[in-house]
Structure formats: structure tokens, C-alpha cells
Symmetry: C2
Subunit: 392 residues, 2 copies
């Protein structure tokens, strides 16, 4: 178990109708004029933006709106948001949406306090040193951005998707009403569940010894998310399933499940290339990449992949052939992804085999030696091989 | 799943030698003069207090010491601490020890900001509304006070042990070095592990439906703590086992495992009577009370007790006789407690059968109707019956 420092100061307000507490929460954290950031028209049509704005108004908080956040959120809207917030004298950023909206809000919050180009934080030229207070009203269970230290933005002109990790990325509060996720299409719910599981799995497949406690927590969370996802894609109006997914999305990515471990994140880096180039949902990309990544790497730590198979999917341990058990676990995970309607191949994603070398070459090198990923560092050749497995 | 609000803003600094960061942490939270609170002479003899004081000194933080905290910490020392802190112009309270030391520090921190008698908070006359910043250097894994919202103090003159829950009870930081727990006697390690498990079990045995995610997290945490406890009592110098226990103590009691659930806490209330009257370790008292509580109540929710048996202790499910499985789980838990050297009967604790009616009558009534406990509310007669089961 590795040493760690962890602090998740976000206040979670969880339950039915909690979006009506948005105004009070913004007030609690000193906001007097908020920029409400949201995505498409559905948040307006459903009346959610109205409810939130009214709540702010009742709490004496002025507000101005910025809609139009797209999935795989773009730098262009971040620039517009910073400009609008500056012009309007905003002192609080309130995200109303999922991960894309929250990440856009984080980038606006940081950029508002910075004299240079906010993209400096994403291309490694600068580190955010302060930010504008921001909070979130969550509408879907996926990215975990509502309390994570992560923020991912795509530079539209270069199709470069990059993330920045900073403790400043943790919102002051996260309002979480699982009812708001009930109107999502099943495909989007499934993409979210896949993302949640990937966040846990990037932490789970570690080479760090003696991490039994977090192993067990990861396994428990994965079991619960898998169960809830199967229910929610069939019955999106199941409050209970949506509640498990929503809280699952949060703990999957705020490092409750990751402390003391070497983590990987190679699959995420590969997926960022897919969603930047083809603009596919992040969860769908992960459904294609992660099983291929598992098949490619399982032989390097067979017992851990067998443990995953036995403890998460209830596979019987083949003590004579642990690698057979490990493979059963990957197959079980693929079967689950199929069950909830996820793609498993590059072609289902609309990706082209001829792009594979470029995708592999463009994947962010996260290590000083030019490799990618923490547990199993990968060269571009490894990444290419993984994408070829996904090209089935 | 119930609605909830949760916020654990404590900064965790976990790993070898982390006590040397105490000064920097106190500085980070604005402290200029700290009251260092500790227990017996071992913290002095081991050099720990010296290391912490030197770290403060190097960070430019002045300090004054208050030793002598006893297990089941007393109001008398809290009064002395408040007086000393006031006289010395202290602006930060730094606990160096386990739950008793941290709880004493919390009570001093609250009392220092309060014009009346600090006991007002514990007898229900007042609620703490502000506090002095405080932090902890943890030396044993048990109470979880290093990030819980709980604080328990015993009024010496009346032998009344009472707790207060408040978000103000969460420390600013918790420095957690598992090495510091290696010098504890195995009995104390076992008491700590029993307390950790009890904190999880008070949350686990709920009547709330659809709490699959926290169920699974509780089960995983219990499995890891049970495994680590077995190792740590035999090899107290196992860093890995101590690390699992130390992080386990934290997440067991900061509500990571309790959100959205009806919790019980009846066993804790009964145990408070035992440790107040006989001055036995809290963990030892819980080892006696909890299995008796389980045996008394299991018939009211057989399937949950069976789930505990199967998922935590790996018992085979007897589908024809779930109650037999439930009982196997309780027996497995008793066998574990025995294995780590815990008492299971009142007499092993030095308690007297003739005190049972008075113990039952004195147990804090936590509900408006005069009953005790959240999931299975108990009358004094129920409590008496439970204590009779423990009188075996």
C-alpha cells in the first residue's frame, strides 16, 4: 500500500427534489451571481434550468445562463464562458448536467482566475493555482466529475482531448437527484455505467501489493454498479437503480476506491483518442477499449484478473488453469457490456482500421519515457496491438 | 435508499513518517499556537510527542502540552484542557493518540468557543455552533474519530458516558502512520478491530431497502478488517495489516459506509454503560454486547443476517433454513472475536449479573418514545434480555 494524501471536501446533497436547494448551496459558499452552465435543450424543456434559476433567485443569487455544452466538451465554449462570466461579474459557476457540463464549468472557473490562455492547464504549460467557487447539479451518472479531481476538455481545432488533475477540480457541492437521470435514453445510461466501471477498473488492476481493503471496496462497488446498470437500462424510471448508479459514479472517481494504489488510466488515454476523432460517447469508447486492454495485459498479472473474475462476476476458480479463469472474467464483462447494449468492436463505433496507427501515435504519453499508462506502461506499438484486438 | 447530506472535509495524510508533517498541516489551517493533547507516557517515551513538537516548532507553530487522557475519556480533563488553552491563548488543538485523545480534543475545541459548560453539548442542553480548528495524529486504529462526526465523553462524577454528533466534530486533518500502531499490545489491537467492525455493523444491519452499493462496500470492508485483524494481533509489526486496519477505522466511521441507510447504534449505547461502569475497553465491551444483540434480533430480519453470514464469513446458504445460516454467521463472528482474544461474556469483562437491570435502565434513550437504537428500537426490558444473553 502506497502513501497518500486525500481530501474530498465536496458537500453531497443527495435525494429527490434536491435541485431546489441549489440557491441555498450557492449562498452557503458565498456566491452572489452565478453562471449556470448546461448542455442541450432538454434541461430547459424539462423545466430543470427554470427550477434551478428560481431556487437561486429565491436565495437572492443573480444568474446568467450559458447553454450548448456538447459531449466531449470543447475549448471553444470554455472561452465563451470565461468571457461571459468576466463581462457579467460572475462569482460562482454552477454546472447543471453531466460530466461534460461539469468539466466545462471547472475549466471556466479556473480560466476566470487566470490571465493567460486556459488551455495552458491542459497542454502542461501551467498548473491551476486558484479557481472560482463552483458547484454541480448532476443529471447523469457517469463521469464522477461531481467530486473528482479531474477535468477533460477537447481542443476543437486539433481534435486533442486532454485532462488535468488538480485538487482545485473538486466542486464545493454536488446536488444529486437520481430522478433527473430517469429521462435519459438507455444507451446513455449504459455509456454512463461503462464509464463508472472503467473508473473503478483503472484503479483495480494494480500491481500494488497489500491493498486488500480497497480491492474489496472496488469489487463491491463493481458488483453493485453492474446489478444497477442491468436494471436501469431496462427500467430507467427505477429510482433505486438510478440512485445506486449515481452514488456509484461519485465514489468510483473521487478516489475513495483508489487510495494507496498504483493506478493505470491507459485505457482512458486510448479512448480519449477515439472520442476526439470520431466524437463517440466516452463510455462507448471505453466498452471497446477496456476488454481489449484486458485481453492484451492479463498474462502479466493472471491472478489479479482471476480475482476479478471470481469476486466480481462469480466465476468458479480454475486452480489448475488460473488464466482460464481470468479469461472467463473478461468474457463475463464483455457479456455484461453486450447485455446493456454497448459496442465491443471498433467498427461498431464507426472507427476505421486504417486510423489505428495514427490513433496509437497520438495517444498522450503519460510517462517520462514516452509510454502511456501506470500499471502496464504501453508504447505506441502496444496501443496499436490493443486497438487491433478491438478491431474484431 | 434514504436522502442524505454528506461532507467529510478532513485531509488525510497517510503513510510512514507522516507525523513529521504535523507542523506544516497545523500551519496550513492557520494555527500559530497549538495545544498538543495526548494520553499516557508511552507517546512521550517513544519520542512521538517530541517529533510532533519539533515538527510544529520547525513550522513556526508554538505549542503547549496536555497529557493524561485515559480510555473512556473524562470530562475532568476536558475542563483542564479548556482552561489551559484559554490561559495560553491557543488557536489550534492537536490530538496525538487514539479515539479517546481525539474526542477529548474535540470537546476542548468546542468548549473553548463556548461561554457555558461544555457538558451542555453532551447532555442535550446545547448544540455546538462553532469550534476551534483541530487535527489529529492517529496512533491506533479503532474509534474512527479522526474523521467521524462523533465525540464521546464520560462524566466522571455520575459515570455517564454520552456522545454528541456534529459536523463540527470532523478534524481539519488526520495524519495516519500505521507504524505508530505497531507497538500496541495485541489485546488493544483486537479491541480496536472489534470497534471498527462494530461501526460497520451498526450501519450494515439496516431495514432500509435498496442499499446494495453500501451493503457491498460494508461487506468488503468487514472482510478486509477481519483478515487484517487476524494478522495484526499475531504480528503487530506488519505494516500492511496495520495499514488496512488504520484506513479501515477511518472509512468505517466517517459514513462512507453509512449513507442512505437507517442505522442502529443500540449496541453502542448498551456498551457505553458497560465501559462507564466497569471502565473496560470500548472494543471489549462491544465484543460482548454485539453478538448478544445479533442473537436477540436476528429473527426480525433473518435474510439480512444470512446475507452477512454468506457474504462476510463465506458460510454456505441453507436455502431451506435461512435462520440456520444467520446463526452460522453469528457463530463465525464469535469465533473470530475469540481468535483475536476478545471476551464474549459479561463475566469475562468483570461485569456482574446483578448490575444488569441498572445498566439497562441507565442506557441512553435515543428515541422520543423512550426506546434505544434505530433499526430495532429497544425498551429497557429488551436491553436486559440482551445482557442476559451475554451473561453466559
Amino acid at each position: 500500500m502506497k502513501d497518500f494524501v486525500q481530501c474530498v471536501p465536496t458537500r453531497f446533497v443527495f435525494g429527490r427534489g434536491t435541485e431546489r436547494q441549489a440557491g441555498q448551496q450557492v449562498r452557503d459558499f458565498g456566491g452572489t451571481k452565478a453562471l449556470i452552465v448546461y448542455g442541450g435543450g432538454s434541461a430547459v424543456r424539462s423545466g430543470l434550468i427554470d427550477r434551478v434559476a428560481r431556487s437561486l433567485d429565491e436565495a437572492g443569487v443573480a444568474s446568467v445562463c450559458l447553454g450548448g455544452v456538447q459531449p466531449n466538451p470543447r475549448d471553444t465554449l470554455v472561452y465563451r464562458g470565461i468571457e461571459l462570466a468576466r463581462r457579467e461579474g460572475v462569482d460562482f459557476i454552477l454546472a447543471v448536467g453531466g460530466g461534460s457540463v461539469i468539466d466545462t464549468s471547472k475549466a471556466i472557473a479556473h480560466g476566470l482566475c487566470y490571465d493567460g490562455d486556459f488551455w495552458d492547464f491542459f497542454c502542461g504549460k501551467a498548473r491551476p493555482e486558484r479557481t472560482t467557487p463552483f458547484g454541480a447539479v448532476l443529471t447523469m451518472s457517469a463521469a464522477g466529475s461531481e467530486s473528482s479531481n479531474s477535468c477533460v476538455i477537447t481542443q476543437e481545432s486539433t481534435k486533442t482531448k486532454r485532462g488535468v488533475r488538480s485538487e482545485l477540480n473538486r466542486p464545493r457541492f454536488a446536488i444529486m437527484n437520481p430522478e433527473l437521470a430517469m429521462t435519459l435514453p438507455p444507451y446513455q445510461i449504459a455509456c454512463g455505467a461503462t464509464d463508472i466501471l472503467a473508473h473503478i477498473m483503472e484503479r483495480y488492476f494494480t500491481c500494488e501489493a497489500e491493498v486488500d481493503l480497497t480491492d474489496r471496496l472496488c469489487e463491491g462497488a463493481m458488483q453493485a454498479v453492474i446489478r444497477a446498470a442491468r436494471i436501469a437500462v431496462k427500467q430507467p424510471d427505477s429510482y433505486d437503480a438510478q440512485a445506486q448508479l449515481m452514488w456509484g459514479s461519485t465514489i468510483a472517481h473521487n478516489d475513495t476506491l483508489g487510495i494507496g494504489r498504483v493506478q493505470d488510466w491507459g485505457s482512458h488515454q486510448i479512448e480519449h483518442e477515439l472520442s476526439a476523432l470520431y466524437d463517440v460517447p466516452h463510455g462507448a469508447g471505453l466498452a471497446v477499449v477496456f476488454p481489449a486492454w484486458m485481453r492484451y495485459h492479463m498474462h502479466k498479472n493472471v491472478m489479479r484478473f482471476a480475482q476479478f473474475a471470481v469476486r466480481v462476476y462469480g466465476c468458479a476458480m480454475d486452480f489448475e488453469h488460473p488464466e482460464a479463469t481470468a479469461l472467463r472474467g473478461i468474457e463475463a464483462h464483455e457479456a455484461f457490456l453486450r447485455d446493456i447494449g454497448m459496442p465491443l468492436t471498433l467498427s461498431e463505433l464507426g472507427a476505421r482500421a486504417e486510423d489505428i496507427p495514427a490513433l496509437a501515435a497520438h495517444t498522450k504519453k503519460t510517462n517520462p519515457d514516452g509510454t502511456t499508462g501506470g500499471v502496464f506502461p504501453m508504447t505506441p506499438e502496444d496501443i496499436e496491438a490493443i486497438l487491433r484486438i478491438a478491431d474484431r
